[in-house]
Subunit: 219 residues, 2 copies
């Protein structure tokens, strides 16, 4: 059985990952480090990310052993381990629900592609949008979700509809067997435990800023 990785560590993993990726791109795959294999040390990562070297070591230790004592971590193995723990070793297929401005923006966004996510469908209820293509992806009628989901793999559903409809959409996703939900509405979705929901609650973030601003800036 896999040992569980702590929440705090997991939240830092994307930072390690993107740092490694940038380093990899920067030196074009060359071996800039001393030993035969490409190596990177905890203190080097720490310096880039603003963490302490101890923290970096403890985080990486949770993933396994990739280190060469006296030198650092085996670069490629480390990167692959992080990819694995983040689920990036697979390609994931995404459908966007709500083909409005936000949904379209996401369909065009390159965040998806770069990380190995593919947008395969958009859904809407607006007759004017259904049948159109957005960034070469077709907009389907939301009512046809089940039949589309039979033909195409959909791993993740992105909800960008108005808040009132969010739970309805979520219920439909679950019924269609979709196990991942990226929720851009303020709705607090109720889902079975095996479904992974990530909330991108823009209103929350706004309140977070205003909260912190009003502490400093007394206006």
């Amino acid at each position: 059985m896999k040992k569980k990785i702590s929440k705090a560590t997991l939240e830092r993993m994307p930072y390690y990952y993107s740092t490694l990726k940038k380093i990899e791109e920067a030196d074009g795959g060359k071996h800039i480090f001393p030993v035969g294999e490409k190596i990177i040390s905890s203190s080097e990562l720490a310096a880039i990310l603003g963490f302490s070297p101890e923290q970096v070591r403890k985080d990486i230790a949770e993933l396994g052993q990739f280190g060469v004592k006296g030198a650092g971590y085996r670069f490629d193995r480390l990167r692959r381990a992080i990819e694995k723990v983040l689920g990036l070793q697979y390609r994931w297929y995404v459908a966007i629900f709500g083909a409005g401005r936000l949904g379209s923006a996401l369909a065009y966004g390159d965040d998806f592609q770069r990380l190995g996510f593919t947008v395969t469908a958009l859904f809407d209820v607006d007759e004017n949008l259904i049948g159109k293509k957005i960034n070469d992806v077709k907009v389907y009628n939301f009512a046809d979700l089940n039949s589309v989901a039979k033909r195409k793999i959909i791993d993740i559903g992105v909800i960008t509809v108005p808040e009132d409809s969010a739970q309805i959409v979520a219920d439909s996703l679950i019924q269609a067997g979709i196990k991942g939900i990226w929720n851009f509405t303020a709705a607090k979705l109720t889902v079975p435990p095996e479904v992974a929901v990530v909330n991108e609650n823009l209103s929350m973030s706004l309140m977070n800023i205003s909260c912190r601003l009003s502490l400093v800036n007394s206006k």
Copy 2:
């Protein structure tokens, strides 16, 4: 001196707030609760939000005393206290940097308006966009930030530019005296301590989903 509110509590505040708002709208300001003043109990809030009543009480206790023993909390005072701690008692002025698809979508979004935030400007470097209006808000030349910031209040800067330019934009914001940053890029911004940064890192969220999906769904 204000007593500090715990992080976990603060993160639940937006949920309490939106719940209270919904209840307020639903009963149209009528006194549906027993005593002269409108009242809501911890168990009632807990039931709606899926928290335990004890948790609700402890959270609210950090804000002050609004309770009537044997009845519940004074609705209006509670709402106002939450508004205050979230910084929603003020109107905040927002500028969006990057008038692309995401920036535009945010400019059109009603999250801002509803919470008392006002979008007063967009900025871009694209000659084709500068001078245009998006949802009735003008797109300025990014080079003119300082002069615009002198004429208009900008409390919060939203960064929706490409990742490579994010730090440059952030630096300019800080130089223009803007104290709040809502960062939609994957860049890890370096800012002075008095500046409040909230990261809406879409790539991170994606990795969060894929991570959790790969735990359950072994593909």
